[in-house]
């Protein structure tokens, strides 16, 4: 079956920016046609079976290479009451992501190829279950976005012994990380980086000195002092950022710094890049949208790790995004139920959901004139793909993973409409501009906004 997306502005940074039609065949991009030369285009199509083509009018929308979220938690296996691979991938599709990378801190931990293979096969199984109830053209629709698992750096995330990266890579693992339980031993981290380098696997580092952060529940500063909450200082993050950049220099490996939250880390990464060290970095929308003030009434939905920081840090994160120090935007989607969140602040779990609010919050950077739209798509699509070594350009022969955005649509964040199983967001009621209209994964519609 063939699909033709008509009327959209196509924006693929460094490749295309203009009004084109995209023809999709068998899950892949068949051709991209300039409608101004429609005759040529028509003749191109007519060489194929022209009867079975479905035209989708997306006039007024912008189509971009599918967004990729390098940092999510899907909670399966182990904590299915918070999220499952199915609900997580549906939420991802709704958020415009054609692919997401779940972190290894599941239960059991994704530290062996069996777990990796389970996640991959579960995702494929879900994608193959067509949603037929709500749509009549069921063949056109598939439920979910793609899943690229991230494996653990060490067995059980215990920071001691390396996992079988090669075996896990064969099962579908795309990167390794210590997210959730950071590797404290620098020697272990060094060996992991050296070993992963030989296999061409990116290392994603959750930078946190757990001794400096111990007992902390929010940013160390005046708000924490007022509330009587124990603080987590910036340096619990930045010292490990510095360590890992130094290890990247030593080993020649590349390091990707997860969820950067503070000024000191941005400075360290900027300096590392200047020295020519292979370091990339990510931040999440909450770090450029909110500050520690969001915690001020013990709101457990504003509790995450690393914590929301000060306005000064927020500005440094924005500056890092603007000057390219921070390469990509991720969500760190961390679903939790009321069991973990409707409790005393210091006992509440860290983390917020993010898949369904990320694009809208990030679009604000464009609306505020801080980033160009093209630049934003770089940070949410092209750069994450290149870090994973994936070519997601909109060009003939590539998988048809496309996000179609209604950049002028206003909407308001309502957790009740989330497809994620969890509702733990600090953004309830936020008015945002820029909404996902459609997400196409392997040529099938994984999500379409209800009109």
């Amino acid at each position: 079956m063939r699909i033709k997306l008509k009327g959209a502005r196509i924006l693929d940074p460094g490749n295309i920016d203009g009004f084109r039609d995209i023809v999709i065949d068998e899950g892949k991009i068949d051709s991209i046609i300039d409608p101004n030369y429609s005759r040529d285009g028509q003749s191109c199509i007519s060489t194929h079976n022209n009867d079975n083509i479905i035209e989708i009018d997306v006039t007024g929308m912008v189509a971009v290479p599918g967004l990729i979220d390098l940092h999510v938690h899907l909670r399966e296996p182990g904590h299915e009451y918070k999220e499952t691979i199915e609900t997580g991938l549906k939420a991802a599709a709704k958020g415009g992501f054609t692919a997401v990378c779940p972190m290894p801190n599941t239960s059991p931990v994704n530290d062996n190829s069996t777990i990796t293979a389970f996640m991959v096969s579960r995702a494929k199984e879900i994608a193959n279950l067509r949603i037929s109830s709500s749509f009549n053209q069921s063949e056109l629709y598939s439920g979910v976005s793609k899943l690229y698992p991230v494996g653990a750096i060490t067995k059980g995330l215990e920071g001691e012994y390396l996992c079988e990266y090669s075996d896990m890579k064969k099962a579908g693992m795309v990167a390794i990380s210590d997210d959730g339980r950071p590797v404290q031993n620098a020697r272990v981290m060094r060996r992991a980086m050296e070993y992963a380098k030989g296999l061409g696997l990116p290392v994603i580092s959750h930078c946190e000195d757990i001794n400096l952060a111990r007992d902390g529940a929010m940013n160390e500063g005046v708000v924490a002092t007022k509330l009587g909450i124990k603080g987590i200082p910036n340096v619990s993050e930045s010292t490990i950022v510095m360590r890992d950049i130094a290890l990247a220099e030593l080993t020649g490996a590349s390091i990707h710094i997860a969820h950067v939250s503070c000024e000191e880390s941005v400075d360290a990464i900027r300096n590392g890049k200047k020295r020519g060290i292979k370091v990339t970095a990510e931040t999440a929308p909450h770090y450029f949208s909110l500050t520690e003030e969001a915690v001020s009434r013990y709101d457990t939905n504003a509790k995450m790790n690393p914590p929301l920081r000060t306005e000064r840090d927020r500005q440094a994160i924005i500056q890092g995004l603007v000057d390219g120090t921070i390469d990509i935007i991720v969500t760190d989607h961390a679903p939790h139920s009321l069991l973990e969140k409707d409790v005393e602040f210091d006992r509440a779990a860290f983390g917020i959901v993010g898949l369904e609010t990320s694009l809208g919050l990030s679009m604000k950077l464009v609306q505020d004139g801080l980033l160009s739209f093209e630049n934003l798509i770089e940070k949410m699509s092209k750069r994450p793909a290149s870090i994973l070594g994936i070519d997601n350009a909109l060009k003939a022969g590539n998988p048809a993973d496309i996000t179609i955005i209604d950049i002028d649509a206003f909407w308001s964040v309502n957790p009740k409409t989330f497809l994620s199983k969890s509702r733990n967001t600090p953004f309830t009621g936020f008015s945002l501009k820029g909404e996902v209209y459609m997400t196409i994964v392997d040529g099938k519609i994984a999500y379409q906004r209800e009109s």
């Binding site: 002092t225 509330l227 909450i229 603080g231 013990y298 409790v343 005393e344 210091d346």
Partner: protein, 310 residues
């Protein structure tokens, strides 16, 4: 004039007017405790739950006596005996308490914000008897009551607070309360015990006890918790005492009519020497006496009582 708050959660949410109303009412209550029959019928038929999730002798007893002198019925739940040890969540416990229709819930809890969390879920008035490191409003109010009684005013006084400010809800509530009432508060401790940004609460930070005490009208010493040694806040009690312990020599830097206070329980020989604790400037036991009157006033006001009504 009516007290306009359902709950007493912290000092921050009180106005100067509120604080004066509480202190005035407490002064009026004080005399009841000196009667041969120490009981008035004011809160007869009211139920007050004392829900203490942290060890406490003095504070709990003080609340209990205050309630009984107003003829309220009190029920006490402590951490060992409550369902919390059976895994029930705080909110579930609070909702269960609520189902038995208490009028006032007094809560002490190790988590900052716990009193506020409960207050949002129950119709009963919630009185915070100490939540984590956050607030201990009745302690600060009884301290202000004691100072006002002795000095005739609070405004313009120099208040020195010495000890583990970072881990003290008493310090936080007193800094907020005394600065709100127009006093100048200076704190001092080893830097490990000074929380980041504390000056934003309106106090000054002195690096040593001598400069902190200089010209003080009130010196308030905080309890040093021995378990804090594990958190690497100070090397030994001996060294702490040498640097920040209050003794008769150090007190000479203060004003001649200085008041020495301590929220208790004291570590004699650590943060305070007996020559000061039992000396002529000490009002430590009067703080305890005033605590009962102050808590009677709080019960009376949150239960809807009017100032100066009888």
């Amino acid at each position: 004039m009516r007290f306009e708050h359902k709950d007493l959660l912290d000092i921050e949410s009180l106005s100067v007017k509120d604080i004066n109303m509480i202190l005035d009412t407490a002064e009026g209550m004080k005399e009841i405790s000196n009667r041969p029959i120490k009981k008035v019928p004011t809160l007869r038929g009211k139920t007050i739950v004392l829900f203490f999730q942290e060890p406490s002798t003095r504070t709990k007893l003080s609340f209990d006596i205050a309630a009984k002198r107003l003829s309220a019925d009190t029920i006490s739940i402590s951490s060992g005996s409550s369902s919390i040890v059976k895994g029930e969540t705080l909110i579930d416990t609070a909702k269960n308490l609520e189902s038995m229709n208490p009028d006032i819930i007094v809560i002490r809890h190790p988590s900052s914000g716990a009193a506020e969390l409960i207050s949002r879920r129950v119709k009963a008035s919630v009185v915070n008897a100490g939540d984590g490191l956050h607030a201990h409003p009745t302690q600060a109010l009884l301290d202000m009551m004691t100072v006002r009684e002795k000095k005739g005013k609070i405004e313009g006084l120099n208040i020195s607070i010495i000890g583990d400010i970072a881990h003290s809800r008493v310090a936080r509530s007193n800094i907020e309360g005394f600065t709100k009432m127009g006093a100048a508060v200076t704190v001092s401790a080893p830097s490990t015990m000074i929380p980041k940004g504390v000056e934003k609460l309106g106090c000054e930070v002195a690096s040593d006890i001598e400069s902190c005490i200089e010209n003080a009208d009130v010196v308030m010493m905080l309890r040093i918790q021995k378990e804090r040694q594990e958190a690497i806040l100070f090397p030994t009690e001996r060294e702490y005492s040498m640097l920040f312990g209050l003794n008769i020599h150090r007190l000479k830097g203060a004003k001649r009519d200085v008041l020495v206070m301590h929220p208790g329980p004291m570590n004699r020989g650590v943060e305070i020497n007996s020559d000061v604790a039992d000396g002529e400037h000490s009002v430590i036991l009067e703080q305890v006496t005033n605590g009962v009157a102050l808590r009677m006033a709080v019960f009376y006001l949150v239960a809807g009582g009017m100032k100066n009504a009888d």
